[in-house]
């Protein structure tokens, strides 16, 4: 691949990274935030592969493969953690997890909904909140379980 094309790939990688970062900062749903992190990772992996092709060696590809492998492991751990966090508070809202602040400081933002305290009668699964345009069908949430 000629050197001059690398900028195109880098641009796509940068855009992926930026979208991921923006999503991570803007969204409060833990699963969405996690998906955004994956997006950032893929942006970086794409840049690595582009560099690898440019310089005609396998360094970048090797790193990209490592990134993918690590991302796979991380996804397993992260989703398990998200599930555990959900079981604690019955909510995916990241605002429920602000315990690491200095003692005495007020909450940066108070979550709107109270988490459910009582024991559920049937198993509950984390739900993604609606995003984008409201679908035509009268469904409040999209089932990911």
């Amino acid at each position: 691949m000629p050197v001059e094309f690398v900028t195109d790939y880098l641009a796509i990688g940068g855009v992926l990274f930026a979208i991921g970062a923006a999503g991570f900062l803007a969204r409060r749903n833990l699963i969405t935030m996690f998906l955004c992190v994956e997006l950032m990772l893929q942006g970086v992996a794409l840049s690595l592969v582009a560099f690898s092709a440019t310089w005609r060696n396998y360094h970048g590809q090797a790193f990209a493969l490592f990134t993918v492998a690590v991302a796979a492991a991380e996804a397993g751990v992260a989703l398990a953690l998200v599930l555990l966090l959900f079981r604690q508070r019955r909510s995916l809202d990241v605002l429920w997890w602000q315990e690491l602040r200095e003692p005495g400081l007020p909450l940066a933002k108070v979550p709107e909904q109270e988490p459910v305290d009582e024991e559920p009668t049937e198993p509950q699964w984390p739900k993604l909140p609606p995003a984008g345009l409201e679908p035509v069908r009268k469904r409040e949430t999209v089932d990911v379980g």
């Binding site: 970062a21 991570f24 900062l25 409060r28 990241v94 605002l95 997890w97 602000q98 315990e99 690491l100 602040r101 200095e102 400081l105 909450l107 940066a108 933002k109």
Partner: protein, 656 residues
């Protein structure tokens, strides 16, 4: 064969050190048999050093240098572990190991009921190794090392019953008081090294041109006085004698071994070792003589009114050590030889007296007040007879060992022709002390062993003990005087009775032998005992002993009447002339005040400054950093991203 005997003399201290390590490592595993390594090492040492002594006595040249290994060699500094085997060190080595092994044997019985049996033997073995190294090394630096090591052992063993506050305090006192003396000692040794450039005795004292000859007289005097500071501390001379009576808080075998027979004589040994240096300075020898004579009298005067058996013996030790310094203070070879002779005989009879008092202590269940005892000779026959031998030797009764050595010292003082007033005063003090010594020794002996029991409780205890043996918590109740304690007592008693006769008459005196110690000039004429002095001191000793008989052997009003008659003197003596109190007010209290002031300074000023500096970041953090720690996950993420952005922008700007 014979030379390897001397060349391997380092096996003697090594055996003791190994025994200490073994006891320390396997004490728990050895259980009640933990005394075996210590006793084996000391018995081996005694045997080996006896052979070395015989070898040295029967051969010329008298002094052999043994290089064991080279420890350090940095530039000009050369520290070789070199041992000097000469008449002086071989005699001291034999005394340490022989008396040491007898005391260890006694301890096997004496300490049997104590907790810390293993600790005791480990520390005693360490002490024996350090002490035999101290007398052997031919190196000023190593002398100091072992000097401190025996001091450490003394500290550890005085504080053997460390759960008792008085024992802990006594150990601390001994250590601190010795620091005062050792401060001068260290400076003296450093001066010696700085001015001569060598650490080794053979270069300092021996050869055709000993290094000390190159020193100017003021330096010699200064070094002599500074070294004597160390001796004053270690050998408990006025004004640093205050630690020794308190050191009696340790177990009695320790008092016998460390605080009577061996460690406290290290000061005498050291002055005798550097005797050529002292001979070169009239001021230094004069100081030694003055301190010796004064301490001898002072300690004897205190001992006369003490009521604690071990403290009487402790003051007596101070007084006898002072006699030895008187001998050294004459500045003549005969005086130095007499001093070492007295070290040797004193080790036997004083160790014997201490072991005897240990036996008495067991019988009375720890009671040491002689006014509560009485009539013990019926219950403890072996202790009584051996104690009597020791007491007669200490009192200087003719033909007993103490008589010969003490008389040799007094004769040396008498013969110090050019002495003038100081020598005359010293001689008179020495003679008065001879009388007092006999008196207080007899007083203690009669009060403990003669007459009727004075205290019902103690008498009951003794009777019970004589029938059933040990009244300890242990199950085994041995006989009151088993063989393991009889053997050391009888061996030491034999020494106390016969040693003087053998050494003074049998071998033609010690002067031809010890006079060839390393660096000693030829002794002129051999010391002869002036008849008048011999008669005078014998009469004084007999009179002292006899005077105590009517006062203390039977119930008598005489002591109380005398005490009332000379009330100020009696109070001064029984209060130890308030020397402890004087120290308290001139040294201890001012030091405590300085320490308190330092503490205030430290907490207010130093700590205040440090805390002030430390509080600045804390305040800054509270104002600026704390609000940022909101716990909101995405706030941190923004921080990271912004930081990353800044770095990337900087890199890009630099690159373009």
């Amino acid at each position: 064969m014979l030379d390897s005997l001397v060349n391997l003399v380092w096996l003697v201290p090594l055996a003791s050190f190994l025994a200490a390590a073994l006891t320390w490592a396997c004490g728990r595993w050895l259980g009640r048999m933990v005394w075996i390594p210590c006793l084996a090492a000391s018995a081996f040492g005694a045997l080996w050093s006896l052979l070395v002594l015989i070898r040295v006595a029967s051969s010329a040249p008298a002094a052999v240098l043994v290089d064991v290994f080279s420890w350090l060699q940095v530039g000009e500094l050369d520290v070789t572990v070199r041992l000097l085997v000469d008449p002086l060190s071989s005699l001291m080595l034999f005394m340490v190991t022989f008396v040491g092994s007898l005391i260890v044997l006694f301890s096997v019985w004496y300490m049997a009921e104590e907790r810390g049996y293993a600790r005791f033997f480990a520390e005693v073995a360490l002490f024996l190794g350090a002490m035999s190294s101290l007398v052997l090394v031919a190196n000023v630096l190593l002398l100091y090392v072992f000097w401190e090591l025996v001091g450490l052992c003394s500290y550890l063993l005085i504080g053997f019953y460390f759960t008792r506050p008085s024992a802990a305090a006594a150990a601390k006192k001994a250590f601190v008081v010795n620091r005062v003396g050792d401060f001068g000692f260290a400076i003296g040794l450093l001066l010696l090294w700085t001015l001569t450039g060598t650490l080794h005795y053979d270069q300092l004292l021996g050869g055709d041109s000993p290094a000390i000859n190159s020193l100017t007289p003021p330096w010699i005097t200064l070094i002599g006085l500074l070294l004597f500071c160390g001796a004053v501390g270690k050998s408990a001379q006025f004004p640093l004698h205050v630690w020794l009576p308190d050191a009696m808080e340790g177990p009695t075998p320790v008092s016998a071994l460390i605080h009577a027979a061996t460690m406290v004589t290290a000061g005498v040994y050291m002055v005798a070792r550097f005797f050529p240096l002292y001979q070169a300075s009239a001021l230094a020898t004069g100081t030694v003589l003055a301190i010796g004579a004064f301490t001898a009298f002072l300690a004897a005067a205190i001992a006369v009114t003490q009521t604690d058996l071990k403290r009487i013996l402790a003051y007596s030790t101070i007084s006898q050590l002072a006699y030895m310094f008187m001998g050294l203070g004459t500045g003549q070879i005969v005086g130095a030889v007499a001093a070492i002779f007295h070290v040797f005989t004193h080790a036997f009879f004083k160790a014997l007296l201490f072991l005897g008092s240990g036996s008495v202590m067991h019988a009375t269940h720890g009671e040491l007040n002689i006014w509560k005892m009485g009539g013990l000779r019926r219950f403890l026959p072996v202790t009584h007879w051996t104690f009597l031998c020791g007491a007669l030797a200490l009192a200087g009764i003719p033909l007993f060992s103490g008589f010969w050595s003490k008389d040799a010292i007094l004769a040396a003082v008498w013969e110090a022709e050019h002495g003038g007033l100081l020598v005359r005063v010293a001689l008179i003090l020495g003679l008065v002390t001879a009388f007092l010594t006999a008196f207080y020794t007899a007083r203690a002996y009669f009060l403990v062993f003669w007459g009727e029991p004075r205290d019902e409780e103690v008498a009951e205890q003794v009777r019970h003990y004589a029938e059933d043996g040990h009244p300890g918590e242990g199950q085994q109740h041995g006989p009151a005087e088993p063989l393991t304690m009889q053997v050391p007592l009888i061996a030491l008693a034999a020494g106390a009775v016969l040693l003087g006769l053998i050494l003074a008459l049998g071998t033609g005196g010690l002067v031809p032998f010890l006079g060839h110690s390393f660096g000693y000039a030829e002794a002129g004429e051999h010391g002869h005992h002036p008849l008048l002095l011999v008669v005078l001191s014998s009469l004084l000793a007999l009179a002292g002993f006899a005077a105590a008989y009517p006062m203390y052997a039977t119930a008598s009003e005489l002591p109380a009447r005398l005490a009332a008659l000379f009330r100020p003197l009696y109070v001064a003596s029984s209060q130890k002339f308030w020397i402890d109190e004087i120290w308290l007010y001139i040294a201890v209290r001012p030091m405590l005040a300085v320490a308190a002031a330092c503490r205030v300074l430290d907490t207010l000023v130093v700590d205040g400054l440090v805390n002030l500096v430390a509080s600045i970041p804390a305040v800054l953090a509270r104002v600026f950093l704390r609000p940022m720690h909101s716990g909101a996950l995405q706030f941190y993420a923004i921080g990271m991203l912004l930081g990353l952005a800044v770095i990337v922008i900087l890199v890009v700007l630099r690159a373009s």
